[in-house]
Symmetry: D2
């Protein structure tokens, strides 16, 4: 029975949307079982009720995450890992507490408010020899893994230019405030005490940074940016030019006020031997153009997968997998790493975003905001 992986959740009560998405995705891996939780910090009623619906042992539905970390850390059959799905401002304290109690952590992004906090978590995880995943979920798509392998194999040669973006439209109404009506959707994002130094770049710009790095392996050497607040306390739109460690340049754009866009993460990687193009809203397809040839549309069923990323594909090709599968693939790899860790095996080979990816994300966010404050001057990262 050594294949069983037990987990607990912090946050994600019945009313919370994202907690349910995580649980469903985790449930794709039949080895993983939910056994504990602290689902709501503000309402014990919601907390208990959620535990009941999920058919948990009431003794393992905890009033505070501190109790949960301590008690589960002591149990023989305690949780192997915790999934943290709370608002950003709380990530640091919760993650730190579970690490201190010897429990692996999978945490939502952005990891922390400050670079120092992120680095402290990275240091602590290493010190304790614990696994720490960060939920950059889009890297779980099968075609993301295909692209990564193709770049690594040299299919597009040396990367010479990158164009990536993540526009949304959902905060456009905030530019048209109605007298006496609160800007309900977004109010917490405008409070730097809750949201941190950035709204748009923090929430979605950091996905661009992580995703491009995941596909290409490139590191950002320096960047410059323009950022637009449109009269709001935090950023709603940003254009970023980057210089990678291989000398190439790229351009990133993120926005929450772009009419006609939803979660339109789109990435185009140009190499001196070909190119790759991918869009999050149609994630089962990649447009691949080898130099001097016609573009071709790769999907999970075009043969390439047979040798490569097939293990991550959950449905027959032609049936769209969607975001739950991407989340699920992250947790499936994380669970496999937990089992390997338990058995004293190496865990480096498993494919999920690590705490260092979380650190890089926080560095990126700060660099963008700082460049914009300094009239778009270059800011060095690595």
């Amino acid at each position: 029975m050594s294949q069983l992986v037990r987990y607990g959740m912090v946050g994600g009560d019945e009313g919370a949307f994202i907690g349910k998405v995580h649980r469903r995705a985790i449930g794709f891996d039949e080895r993983i079982q939910l056994v504990a939780g602290c689902f709501s910090a503000s309402s014990q009623e919601k907390n208990k009720k959620t535990g009941q619906v999920l058919r948990l042992d009431p003794a393992r539905v905890y009033d505070t995450y501190q109790d949960m970390a301590r008690e589960e850390g002591k149990r023989e059959d305690g949780i192997d890992f915790v999934s943290i799905v709370t608002p950003n401002v709380t990530h640091f304290d919760i993650a730190k507490t579970f690490l201190e109690n010897g429990i692996h952590v999978m945490c939502e992004k952005p990891l922390t408010f400050t670079v120092e906090q992120a680095e402290e978590l990275a240091h602590l995880a290493q010190q304790k020899n614990l696994l720490f995943g960060v939920n950059y979920s889009y890297t779980g798509y099968v075609l993301a893994k295909v692209m990564r392998e193709m770049v690594a194999e040299g299919k597009i040669g040396k990367v010479i230019s990158v164009n990536a973006e993540y526009p949304q439209e959902w905060l456009l109404d905030d530019l048209h405030p109605v007298e006496g009506q609160e800007l309900s959707l977004s109010v917490w994002r405008k409070n730097p005490e809750i949201a941190g130094i950035s709204n748009c770049v923090g929430d979605i710009g950091s996905h661009i940074e992580n995703f491009v790095h995941y596909i290409t392996g490139l590191k950002i050497k320096r960047l410059l940016a323009t950022v637009n607040r449109f009269g709001q306390p935090l950023d709603l739109n940003a254009n970023i030019l980057v210089e990678y460690d291989n000398g190439a340049n790229g351009a990133y754009w993120c926005s929450q006020v772009a009419a006609g866009t939803l979660n339109a993460l789109a990435v185009r990687i140009y190499g001196d031997e070909g190119s790759l193009e991918w869009q999050q809203e149609n994630p089962d397809y990649v447009r691949y153009t080898p130099r001097g040839e016609a573009p071709r549309t790769l999907t999970r069923g075009n043969g390439y997968l047979k040798e490569k990323a097939a293990a991550f594909s959950q449905l027959p090709t032609g049936h769209p997998e969607g975001l739950h599968v991407a989340f699920g693939n992250l947790y499936q790899q994380f669970a496999s790493a937990v089992i390997a860790h338990r058995e004293g095996q190496p865990t480096d080979g498993f494919d999920f975003p690590r705490v260092q990816d979380g650190v890089n994300g926080v560095k990126f966010i700060h660099a963008v905001i700082n460049s914009a404050k300094n009239d778009s001057a270059w800011v060095h990262i690595n």
Copy 2:
């Protein structure tokens, strides 16, 4: 605790692909719990192992579906429904047995080999006052529900023409047999004793028939068809002209030998006030053209949903939901119907394919094959 819905599964051992998809989709609804199973008819080892992985009580992992139906039918805490995910040839006997033991049934399609068998199941379910769902999974997509409501509200007026198709490419290699190499993928589909009267029309043509009916409410009055076997025992390609009960015509095409297509179900409904177009491989979008206006692209976030099909949407718009969500929506409605049935409430309003849809599917398949045998003469259905 009256919200808990217990189920068992017949078929779907660890190695079986589709059983896992069903379990994952069912797991989207946290009210539903797997408590029993007979996962493999051919291997008790696989059967037991699957029960173990799924953490079931070993006493409720049964050697035969007959045992399972009888024992679960007797228990206080017996299963509310069975999910049947076995090969087609077995559907009739298994479904009948569970109905006879007073257990609701959710069954894969096509429902049965013969029209008579399908009608017997329909009759039995009605007699026993039991729920009987058939897994026409594509009707679970949110945008399918949106289209259905739009047609019902008159957004496209009276339907005057339908164009629908379901091409695939996966059997194309069978037209190029290699000496000494078995046509492994498709061999059972070519044996009429296992596959029934039809391969292509039965497997995917019937999805067209069901999906168009789901969206429009139209019934087929008569049809004619050409069918192509290309030297194989059963059909690989079919073109069908239909006449609906409202006098309009439609054209259907299904194929398993169309290079460049995967599960390319595509439906276009033309009314005298507008049109709707939808594709299974990109299921979160509908192209809607009102008469005399520009086409618009509807998705889960364009406002329409706020009033209507929003309850079925499982992710923020712009994040692709995929097939698991479609499956999940069917089971979620089925589970709600089970609870309503338990409480003596009406169950007609719940939105999942019924046994009558299964009957219609079998009638359609037979009509197509019979028309082709009779040099494409019209065959009346209803």
Copy 3:
């Protein structure tokens, strides 16, 4: 100066749309010069004015096409060919008259009302050893020529299934007549004395027939059809099943009442070694899927053209060519055939639709209408 080709036009006065399109397309070939015309049968004022605008010798702007054919037939420097762009009902008489005066003919489609008329023209052209082109303009697109060559080279193997359609929306308003308001756009198309036996099949259905034949070389052996008038005198919508001379089947659909479609001719050819897909509204691209490989998007710049249809390409790839280029390619080939004819060289190799294509189109139209009248019975063509 033997490269100069002189032509005259019948129809196409200043107010007439299609005449101008022809003249522009002809003008793409700097060898061809307009020198005579009879631009309007109903108004000598329009006729003269058009000649003036086009800077013609007033003596060569004729009152009647009969005068024009006779006089130009006598001149040393008379026209080499006539372009006939009048309404359908007049094609037969005009074309016959020019042939009888020894002048090559390029005529709009559909060629004639009856099969007998079309065959008479074909016979006369042969007897007189004159060139006779029919303006099936879509065959002039560069990618149409690419597809034709690919099929001929065996790139998709043996054709096993065809799916082609030509829907439009422009007559949809006719299903919603407004009291006291004439159905101005379409009124002549509803008068069988002017429009002939068919409206929709004659106007656009025949393009499907011709285009599929052009690409594949297949001939239709027999067909059956449903046709819808929706209360109007002539057809507005038709579904057609065909059987080709190689045994394969195909399905055609044409409509003038399909909301959201403009001139949406779309052709998909499936072979046992691959497939080709093309759409008239985006004519510079072909989706080509070799068996067992990923689909690729061919255009005028993907290398294939270097060897093949490049001579027809008029713009650098990536710059859309549009319909004028397609028209122009037909006339460019026709002019080359005229020069070859003049020099006693063979003219068979030039690539433009011939009078036999016109005959086939008229046969197709009659077969569809006759099948529908006979409750969709098969009608043999060839």
Copy 4:
């Protein structure tokens, strides 16, 4: 006969591609007639032969553009305007000469090498009261005109963000030099004495600048850029951030080494009330999203055109117009301005790019190159 507009051409001998495109597009307007030319500076044989093919009076086929300007300037029936289609390095001298002889000018872009030259031409045209058009051809597309009107009418509100690009792939092979083989395609573009200060930004980046300005009316206040030469003498790739006079930002990208792109000019304009998206390779369509509504696909037939840009549409909607129509629309407006000028009417209202657009283009090119030289510092333009 006052509607006749006579023109001559400098450059564009029979072998030259772009001259023929201009002549065809000009020929779309039956008021305009070619009467003179100096088609080749290097070969009198080619020059004469081209005049012969085009059926010109041999006396008006000139050995030098200086002769042509002087002689045509003196004739009663001399040319109204000259179309200059020579390499960039010659634009300034030729345009200046014709202006000095009182002849209107339509010139290819980029207008000149230096800002000073461009401003001198602008000054001279104003002084002489002559028309001066610059061939930014993409502004001639009907949908470009539709977008311009929509922005002017406030359909998308205030512009808040722009994302525009023009990638190509045609110089990618230059990154893979083959021993002993000249980089034939691009060799003159790498010689600053012929190509000027820039290759990629000058050739295609300037189209972005002009097109966005045409649609939005926005002026660039300042910009910064990264530019990549990849070891070549001039730029092959550039990323540019701009700040407009209304305070909004935009990002531009141009490249000649982006595999899988041809002439992929794409422009997305985001306003606080909606957005517009357009692509040059599919120019008959615009995606328009009003705030809070579903995106819609506008084309020449969706009603909007009835009131607005319909005069520029040359084909029934659904038939692709292509680049010749865009060119033709520019010349048609220029010819109308010539006639108005002749009659002493105002010429401001005609819709074609003016010499000031040419000046702005040269300023833009220099600013981009200068920013890149200065480590991406901001460079002010206006």
